[in-house]
Subunit: 348 residues, 2 copies
DNA sequence: TTTTAGCACTGAACGTTTGCGAGTGCTAAC
DNA sequence: GTTAGCACTCGCAAACGTTCAGTGCTAAAA
């Protein structure tokens, strides 16, 4: 069992190491600790902490560095979240100052604000509606055989795609196709829409169109876009500041996490759950090995009926956790408020 | 005046340095050169080249490295472009394999193909039409007071933006606004559209709408988007491979060149001119100082009436120029062909 | 006049040695 | 349980020597 003083020592080691990045020795601790004991006493405490696996030496006669287990213990038992400063609150407010036409814009802006505020890398995910419905479908002819397909979902998301009609398709046929979609598919959950697209809809289309394949392709494509979870990353470049300078390969690997499709990020952030707490995961506990000396703070935000989303902060393991946890907590609340406002604007 | 053999030595120094990245000594040259003279003779030639400022030593007893002036001389007088290999041609063809719905997609894909092929960073600019015209304007109501504004230009470019109507605007008013735009503005060059938007159009709108300001805002916004030159960057991450590992700040600065608005890139690439040659600019000759030990190869491509565009390759100064120049030349031709095909598809 | 062999010299790169300092563990006394 | 004292460890940086690729110069050969 660890004594109170030993835990104080652990806390101070983490604080000092976060600040300086250097292993912490007994003399430094003696100077910084609120209680006054000799360096030898502290050395004894450090030995106990080391035996418990909470701290480690970089070499046989060096100061101590927190271990992964030490961080874990700290995060689970010792950390005291610090409330966001008025300056930070103001910065968040200002960041949301502009006018937004889409939820996605708000979510993307969130990533920017968070990364600016922390100098780390922020990842944001829009609110995920469990049963997303198709609420509208339009096709707009633009001349020159070009047509824009627009799809609207009940969470206010709008996706569009341009395509070119083969010459032989008449506008009459297109009209009918639109009517079929509106009659058969609008109002249904996206999953069901996708199923019907495999099922009875093609045969219906065949009655009115010579070759509905092209149309089905396009529709399937925008549907996929609408259903896809999009994530936004802010402050990618900050990675280079807090990552080991030397390891260029690692930087590239992490960058490509963000470039690739969503599956990597979804795996990283884990399932979006309703527990609206702030959670810290250490790099070594995470799946992609590249994140070894990094750490991920995630928080979910809740927009009532409109679902639950997620924001995350990726930074070095030596992060000022108490500050960052407090900040993310404040941000989560603010983002939820903004989105609720946004939606209520529609419903009034 | 430099002798033939001295120029041969210069050429070999550049070739060898490009390959190994190491300063080249007289013995190495003796082994590699086609003519057989002793290392002492080569040393004398090297001295002459050094006095002419074409090569330099890294320290008093080192091998020689090409100087900026040396590269310039090489590029102006000695380089022999190597035709693209069949493999490269095939890779280009394959890269363009898919189906494209917008010119911008083709241009963006070009940047990807080029960077994959070279492992450098590619920048592409779409064909610039000197007098771009507004050929279409649509507004599509999506429910919940949301409206999508779509603007089409005569180069086939389509931009769209979502916005929210204030509650008090009637759909009748919107109808009229659309008609005014179509009557007054469609068919005109974008510059003139912008001017009329400041001039008589607002007063016309005032006759039919209570507060046309919001509408004008949106229209101005999409108009700006349509007129903006967009550029595409492929292989950003390759920068980290060919840039000095140590200088993280430099990497960040160059990255932010790509993130910021187009003005930086436009300045870098220079004006798009019709001279469809491949041009090499050395980093030290370029305006942003960060590009010091880099080099930029630019080439323009011509799509007849549909304007002239530009592709560029950013890489280390020690590039295999002859190969890269040949490659860019081949790519330019292929891209021009693809775009011409794309446009002809519309006009038939 | 041009080319070549020979030689002394230079400076980077790399390994070894050395001294210093921050830090530890242990012991014995408080 | 706490503290002073001491021997010990190890990383780090400076100092030093060796090696090696390369140069410039000179004098002889072509």
């Amino acid at each position: 069992m660890l004594t109170k003083r030993q835990l104080l020592v652990l806390k101070e080691i983490i604080r000092s190491f976060t600040e300086t990045g250097q292993p912490v020795g007994s003399k430094t601790l003696m100077a910084e600790l609120p209680i006054h004991v000799s360096s030898a006493t502290i050395r004894n405490d450090m030995k106990a902490l080391e035996e418990a696996g909470l701290i480690a030496k970089t070499h046989s006669s060096s100061g101590r560095v927190p271990s992964t287990k030490g961080y874990r213990y700290y995060l689970d038992n010792l950390v005291e979240p610090a409330a966001a400063s008025p300056y930070e609150i103001a910065a968040i407010q200002q960041g949301f100052g502009g006018h937004f036409y889409k939820i996605d814009e708000i979510v993307a802006q969130s990533a920017r604000i968070l990364s600016n505020l922390t100098n780390y890398t922020a990842i944001t995910l829009g609110p995920e509606v469990t049963n997303l419905k198709l609420t509208g479908f339009r096709m707009v002819p633009l001349g020159n055989h070009q047509v824009m397909a627009i799809l609207v979902t009940n969470n206010g998301n709008v996706v569009n795609q341009l395509f070119t009609l083969p010459g032989e398709v008449s506008s009459d046929e297109v009209e009918k196709a639109i009517r079929i979609v509106n009659d058969q598919l609008v109002g249904l959950p996206l999953g069901q829409v996708a199923r019907k697209l495999q099922g009875d809809v093609p045969s219906l289309l065949f009655q009115y169109m010579a070759s509905p394949d092209g149309f089905l392709d396009i529709f399937g494509n925008v549907l996929k876009q609408a259903a896809a979870e999009r994530f936004y990353v802010g402050g990618r470049l900050n990675l280079m500041d807090y990552l080991d300078d030397s390891d260029v390969r690692k930087v590239k690997q992490i960058f490509s996490l963000f470039d690739d499709d969503t599956s990597d990020i979804n795996q990283l952030l884990g399932p979006v759950d309703d527990k609206s707490g702030v959670r810290v995961q250490l790099g070594q506990e995470l799946t992609p090995d590249v994140l070894d000396d990094l750490s991920l703070i995630t928080a979910s935000y809740n927009v009532g009926d409109h679902g639950t989303g997620m924001i995350a902060l990726l930074g070095p393991t030596q992060m000022p956790y108490s500050k960052m946890i407090g900040l993310l907590d404040a941000f989560r609340a603010e983002l939820a408020k903004r989105l609720t406002d946004y939606y209520s604007h529609f419903e009034q």
